[in-house]
Symmetry: C2
Subunit: 134 residues, 2 copies
Amino acid sequence: MSAELSAELKALLDTPVFITVATIQPDGSPQVSPVWVKRDGDDLLFSTTLGRQKEKNLRRDPRLSIVVQPFDAPYSYAEIRGTAEMTEEGGQELIDELALKYVGKKYAEFNATAAQDAPRVVVRVTPRKVVGRI
Amino acid sequence: MSAELSAELKALLDTPVFITVATIQPDGSPQVSPVWVKRDGDDLLFSTTLGRQKEKNLRRDPRLSIVVQPFDAPYSYAEIRGTAEMTEEGGQELIDELALKYVGKKYAEFNATAAQDAPRVVVRVTPRKVVGRI
């Protein structure tokens, strides 16, 4: 079962809002980090790289939870619980699209060491439950 | 082993910055939500209520992870992994102190339904590892 996002939450995700993503470490404890996000219907897409902790965690256990908290309205936040699927296909295109959305330039122009990154991975999140105030 | 916070991270935590807290659900998946925070030395204090999901999760598994991401400098964030201890002692005082820090008034004046809340719980986080860019 997938969950639908409200119109307000969809609109928020289409702005350059950060999301904070929680995954599960090998020892069962949580790991959490902020990332850029793009919406595709009710799915959320974010970018990581091969071998990064988040990527390794999601490969082992695809369950994640995400907080969306707008900087200008911090009491209107949502938690989205879901599952992740990952692919390297379109990885470079996604990070460039996200960089354009968030900082108005290509990723390599934003991050001088981008060329040394491991291959880019697209993480597609299917929401299973939405909790919160949006 | 506890971890020390940098002077910059301490200073940031003394401002009204939100933290996003990840805990572990009964089924082992992550749960995540934003909260107010106060620093006490290298420990972080936040408030929850008895029986709330976060409180139940931490009672079962005290491991948590926290993102600190300043709204005005979102690329300077930190992840703090640690363990939580909880007590009801000082619970009302802490939420009132946090409300004063974040919204400049007592909690009951900020949240009209505060009187119906379950008893307030103080969550004291001892950092075990700090990752990130602050």
